[in-house]
């Protein structure tokens, strides 16, 4: 089970983008988290993947509370996650050939010996030829690079997958292909999934259960009166915030 308990997180502690959100994903379950862009769901996804330290709350992975974030996360917790982001170019080291990009999580965790075999297994699954594996990010299309990023997320055989707007930049066929790759891996491994996105049709088709962001974020609302959030600076997610409801003090 992957449990997010009372998570508050953001980039300014006085104005967090995620407020007291709780969400649980069962073993092998696929949960879609649906919300407008800029609402904070990407931040929650980063917290779930141990990439962003929350201001409050806890992440419990298969019964074990997370003991650190980013590079300080213990290795066995860090490698429990495979993560795919919306913009493959922002998450790919431009110097690496696709083959090395895919193997990155194995190298980073001292499992270099598995790299050749795993990359060899995954390349045909995501549809990358030997010739493409030898190229660098600027020599391939966005769709091809995202295929490599999906392979990278699966290479260390994670128990949990976090896909943040994985297909927002992709055409319909590449979208269906990559969702198919993720689902085939989940069937074989029993991994659970948190898929964050804004496309209801896609998430409902993909996931066992779809959760809407808005009700998640207002567990403590109602009688105290609500006001819309004033337009603020952009979140590091890249898009400006759509008004998020919060409690007036």
């Amino acid at each position: 089970m992957l449990e997010l308990r009372g998570i508050t997180a953001g980039y300014d502690p006085r104005d967090p983008v995620v407020r007291d959100v709780s969400l649980t994903i069962g073993d092998g379950e696929a949960v879609g988290l649906l919300g407008p862009s800029g609402c904070g769901k990407s931040t929650l996804a980063r917290v779930a993947a141990l990439l962003h330290r929350p201001d409050a709350g806890s992440v419990v992975i298969d019964g074990e509370p997370a003991r650190g974030w980013r590079h300080r996360a213990p290795r066995e917790q860090r490698t429990a996650f495979g993560v795919v982001f919306q913009q493959p170019r922002q998450s790919a080291d431009p110097r690496l050939r696709l083959r090395d990009l895919i193997a990155e999580p194995l190298r980073a965790t001292g499992r270099r010996a598995e790299a050749d075999t795993r990359v060899g297994e995954l390349a045909p699954v995501v549809g990358l030829s030997a010739e493409l594996l030898a190229r660098r990010p600027h020599e391939v299309s966005d769709g091809q690079l995202q295929r490599a990023c999906v392979a990278r997320a699966l290479v260390a055989r994670p128990r949990w997958l976090i896909c943040d707007e994985m297909t927002a930049m992709l055409d319909a066929s590449t979208t269906a292909a990559l969702v198919g790759v993720v689902e085939a891996y989940r069937r074989e491994s029993g991994a659970g999934l948190l898929a964050v996105g804004h496309d209801a049709v896609l998430l409902e088709r993909w996931c066992d259960r779809t959760v809407r962001w808005e009700p998640l974020t207002r567990p403590f609302t109602v009688s105290r009166g609500l006001r819309p959030r004033t337009p603020g600076p952009q979140t590091p997610d890249g898009l400006n915030t759509v008004p998020v409801i919060r409690v007036t003090q």
């Binding site: 407008p36 862009s37 800029g38 919306q86 549809g127 299309s141 966005d142 769709g143 091809q144 707007e165 927002a168 930049m169 992709l170 055409d171 319909a172 066929s173 590449t174 979208t175 269906a176 292909a177 969702v179 198919g180 804004h198 496309d199 209801a200 049709v201 896609l202 409902e204 088709r205 993909w206 337009p231 600076p233 952009q234 890249g238 898009l239 400006n240 915030t241 759509v242």
Partner: protein
Amino acid sequence: MTTVLSVRELSVRFRMPGGRHVAAVGDVSFELAAGECLVLVGESGCGKSVLASALLGLLPGNAETSGEARLGDGLELLSADERTLARTVRGRRIGLVPQSPAAHLTPVRTVRAQLAETVRELTGARGAALAEAVEAAAARAAFPAGHLDRYPHQLSGGLAQRAATALALVGDAPLLLADEPTTGLDRELVDRTADELRRHADAGHALLMITHDLAAAERIADRVAVMYAGRVVEIADAAVFFGAAGPRHPYARGLLDALPERAFAPVPGMPPELGALPAGCAFAARCATPKEACEAVPALVDGVACHHPHRPLAEEASRA
């Protein structure tokens, strides 16, 4: 109807190191009339953005073009020099609605300042007339006057898109070119952006939209052109394409079938490299029904470039 853009056998290839060539766009032909919206769909790397760059004269130095792309007033874009393109085409004859409005707007200047600069440059307006023209330009793109003094980072995604559209509309160009204007936007915002662009087509602009988003295409298009491996493989009436009859080219049919609201099944395989296109039909390796004829590149005849296009059932029956 007035033809605003006429593209004839447009090809673009890039010279690569080692004498290689990459055929990014091959033999593309289409016409676009005032008040009409043509949507060019295809996956990343299919050549659709190269086509847009060719029309704007923004191709890199190693590009070679052939064919022609003629505006309604007779100007041929491929042979026009940079001075003509910069002074009389970009912004004046062709308005560009960019892919990422936030990146297109200058971060350190207010929307009003940016609009004013463009209006001054394109119309020569000064003083009170300039201030008035700026507000009118904002209004045309439904950008609220009350937000004109904001900086781009203070705008929502939707308002940033409108600000960029307002800039594109200043020159009152007969042709609007929208390059992936809805990428990364929420569905609601995609719909709103598409509807606003449609409004500008209805107001008499010719609109060429480039996108990989079929839902946005369906919402806005009069006609749809599908690009695959640098070529237009089908060009069809949007109502027919998205309707019961559906597309006729196997790739276009596969693309629609990949939608999550349909079969959610990908077209198997990947497109060929543009630098190593096969001799015959570029889709043959992924096609369920290739036959001997497919060893020759199919020409675009009657709206479809395929030796064995899908036929609507009724037509099939009447042939029997």
